[in-house]
Amino acid sequence: MTDTATRYTRQDFQTDQEVRWCPGCGDYTLLATVQNFMASLDIDKEKIVFVSGIGCAARFPYYMETYGMHSIHGRAPAVASGVVVANPELSVWVVTGDGDALSIGGNHLIHAMRRNVNIKVLLFNNQIYGLTKGQYSPTSEAGKTTKSSPMGSIDYPFNPVSLALGAEATFVGRTIDMDRDHMTTMLQAMNDHHGASFLEIYQNCNVFNDKAFLDLTGRDERDHNRIYLEHGKPVLFGPDHGNGVVVEGGNARVATVADVGVDSIHVHNATDLDPGPAFALSRLSHGPYGPTPLGIFRHVSRETYGDLVSAQLVESREQKGAGDLAQLIRQTGTWTVD
């Protein structure tokens, strides 16, 4: 789909506002990737809405020539839910940070996921509070020294993918800022998904948390550590696909293919209605350290909240006829004084 020419170019999605992230910030790449992707779609751009909370990542809507709202900290999933429930025709994207989405906004996120509201959440996870200048976030690794944890953070971090699966999100994926092609594939899948979708994007904050993703981006490390999940395929990775993932009794572990034989390797089924196997895969890593799955963990179909709302509106009209105010105010009985 991305190679068909469309009426848009990336420029059509650029605003006249100067982009104001630190030089070198991963957000620039993400913006470019999203703009390019949007241009590749055949969606009228006035039908696209970007909603964000507060944070560096959350500046995103200002740079997208679509409708947009830079709301308040943590509340973007709630606002976006209202947007799409009120107008199901819109393509609604949420851009959020690890603090925005998982700290103050954690509850709205998991509720949007369970309700399967038709919003697409891009979580820019830089494992730090960027905008407030470098305090640890709910995804910062334990022990991390930051401004607010001079002796090391004592917060055990979330695994955002596990959390989203626990909330039964119908689409859960993970990608990384440096891999534009992979991210584009994820965006395409989210675009095609009808329902809530959640994408964790490892994003480098070169000012307050530089090189947090070295295991996945370092020239020497990345090939050993990136586990690309592909639906219907055995989960293989590493140089020459020499490694694979085995899932036994709910435990996923990394194995050498030569040792276990390719038949023992777990075949990934993103469309499994049971989130159990996807969850097991999410446990392979805890943060971007060592072999870490990227790609679509889960992609299932469930009725969306918005469709159910719309269906009840229709059904109610069918049952009771279009609302008649004169009748409504008389519904509990009236009397007349002459």
């Binding site: 679509t66 606002v79 509990t332 009236t334």
Partner: protein, 611 residues
């Protein structure tokens, strides 16, 4: 029996009746059915339900008492009455908690079956009040309602504990007989309501009839009151509670604005029934969103406003506290939204089932930064319909969140409402922005209203971004320019202040040296007090505010004309503070903070003191 006299059947212009019993006794139902029958009969009326805080507090205890008071009259009345003329007491606890309110010489109807030792003890009675002189000076009528109910329903097939549930209908039957009310409307209602439970329907109807017949046949009960239909202005009437009225008003506002209604809410007493009522009217295109909390409720509502719905979000005090950050965002983005606060007694969790007006200052000032918003309040249950429409009008016309205040009393009490002609509802619509020639400027204001355009997603060419950072005048781009911030702050302030010219001037009712200013649900009690006082030669005038921010343009001038200004409020003097701050004129505050509405007599007494 302590009955000493037997009153004769009497013509009355007004009577106050209170049904009181255990929360499991169905007093709210008995009261509201009696109210409905009286409404259909043509009385004017006003009600005051009073719930216990617990879902179902332990049977027979004082905190478990639930009551429903109604005043019916053949004239225009304004309050549910200061003290009941008739009290129905289904058990000792109900007698204990309500007796103090009953008018001297009042009539008390008692379910003697409940007056046995255990219940007396639970109510804290050492001896039986029926015997020990406690009820001296009242007319006491008794009936073994449980026994009689059991007898009455024995052929309906209903068995077990369910049988006794019908005893409220027995009481209702007695009272219906006492006031010469037809039982047919009640029977119709029962048949409809319990269509799926025919045994329950039959039992209720038999109990009702038994009660009615008990009155008719028992010697002890050989009198009736007659309260004639009231000469209300001609028209078609219905009996309406405040929460119904506000719900329907929101639907009407959306219709009048040509918009769909989106109502985002999280259940909270006493606002929940607005969500519940609106959820039943999806055929009006109403979308209700029961959110995970109040913050999400207002957030989703704001999202819906952004895309062109009439967004409304309802809650009570604690919920408003949670919503305030998002309201501030809506204010900054200048999007229309209605924020309904059905006030309850605070602070903190307070007394959730009790009424209060103590969120006024929060409505004005409960946001960080300079964040002025229109604040309006309904004064009676039916007025909530019009006030909701006014909220919608201001929100859409001025592109602003509007705070709409009611309270627990308005929410749950009812009054006859003369139905408006739907065709006469104002047109409060305002077109969405449409693509023009040049660049779209989201903060280019209408020179009259200072409202900015409402450009909704889906409109080609009007793509724009809103947010909570300070915006540049006209373009709406983010701006940190000092002068721009000052200008925008003033513009936002002026936009709201200008509304003063777009609302009716404050009107004074009556005349006298003292002006009583009120707002919200104190309307009835103040008006009644002013009337009574004036009849008793202490002339007083009444000014009731719907608009609390901005105030009507002439309010300062009106205030100047009175030496004494009395401000009764169900709080510690919040409107008083606002008036003094605004007009630098000392007013007399009459605070009441008991979780209960004013009685007219309390205000009357204050007027006497001031005169």
């Amino acid at each position: 029996m302590t009955i000493t006299e037997r009153p004769q059947s009497t013509h009355k212009d007004r009577v106050v009746i209170r049904f009181a019993g255990d929360s499991g006794d169905g007093m709210q139902l008995a009261g509201s059915q009696f109210t409905a029958a009286s409404a259909l009969f043509g009385n004017d009326l006003a009600t005051l339900p009073d719930f216990p805080a617990e879902i179902r507090a332990p049977a027979g205890t004082l905190p478990g008492v639930s009551s429903f008071q109604v005043q019916i009259a053949d004239t225009d009345i304004l309050t549910p009455g200061d003290s009941p003329d008739v009290l129905v007491a289904m058990n000792p606890a109900a007698l204990k908690t309500n007796l103090g309110d009953v008018a001297k010489g009042g009539l008390i109807l008692i379910n003697t079956d409940a007056f046995e030792e255990r219940n007396l003890a639970k109510a804290g009675y050492d001896s039986d009040p029926l015997e020990d002189g406690t009820l001296e000076g009242f007319h006491v009528l008794t009936a073994p309602m449980e026994e009689l109910t059991k007898l009455a329903v024995k052929d309906t097939g209903l068995k077990g504990r369910g049988v006794l549930r019908s005893k409220n209908f027995f009481a209702l039957g007695v009272v219906s007989w006492m006031f010469n009310r037809p039982t047919e409307p009640i029977i119709d209602w029962v048949n409809d309501k319990f269509a799926k439970l025919p045994e329950v329907a039959a039992a209720n109807i038999e109990a009702l009839k038994a009660g009615y017949n008990y009155g008719l046949t028992t010697e002890e009960f050989h009198f009736t009151f007659d309260v004639e239909p009231a000469a209300l202005p001609p028209g078609e009437y219905t009996n309406i509670t405040g929460n119904q009225a506000v719900s329907w008003g929101l639907i009407a506002a959306a219709k009048s604005a040509g918009l769909d209604l989106f109502y985002g809410s999280y259940p909270i007493t006493p606002a929940s029934s607005v969500l519940e009522e609106l959820a039943r009217h999806k055929n009006f295109g109403v979308r209700t969103f029961q959110a995970e909390d109040e913050i999400a409720a207002v957030g989703a509502t704001l999202g819906a406003s952004f895309v062109g719905h009439l967004g409304a979000t309802g809650t009570s005090g604690p919920g408003v506290a949670l919503k305030s950050e998002t309201i501030s965002l809506a204010m900054m983005m200048e999007l229309p939204m209605i924020v309904l606060n059905v006030q309850r007694a605070g602070p903190s969790t307070g007394m959730p089932t009790k009424t209060e007006q103590a969120d006024l200052l929060m409505a004005l000032y409960g946001r960080h930064g300079e964040a002025p918003l229109p604040v309006i309040a309904a004064s009676t249950p039916s007025d909530a319909f019009d006030t909701a429409i006014e909220a919608g009008r201001l929100a859409v016309k001025y592109m602003t969140p509007v705070i709409l205040l009611t309270d627990g009393y308005i929410a749950n009490s009812s009054e006859p409402w003369r139905l408006p002609d739907i065709a006469d509802l104002p047109d409060i619509g305002r077109p969405f922005a449409s693509p023009g020639d040049g660049e779209f400027l989201p903060y280019l204001r209408d020179p009259d209203t200072l409202a900015r355009p409402w450009a909704i997603p889906g409109t080609p060419g009007l793509e724009h971004r809103l947010g909570g950072l300070e915006k540049q005048d006209v373009t709406g781009n983010v701006s940190y320019d000092p002068e721009n911030h000052e200008r925008m702050t003033e513009l936002r302030e002026r936009k709201i202040a200008r509304i003063a010219d777009d609302i009716p001037p404050a009107e004074v009712y009556g005349s006298g040296d003292i002006l009583v200013i009120g707002w919200g649900s104190t309307f009835g009690a103040i008006r009644e007090a002013v009337n009574r006082s004036t009849r008793n030669d202490i002339a007083a005038a009444h000014l009731h505010l719907r608009h609390l921010n901005p105030f009507p343009a002439n309010l300062g001038d009106v205030l100047e004309r009175y030496d004494t200004v009395l401000v009764p409020e169900l709080n510690r003097g919040q409107l008083s503070k606002l008036l003094q701050a605004e007009y630098v004129k000392r007013v007399v505050s009459l605070p009441k903070i008991q979780g209960l509405p004013f009685k007219a007599v309390e205000i009357e007494a204050k007027l006497r003191e001031l005169s």
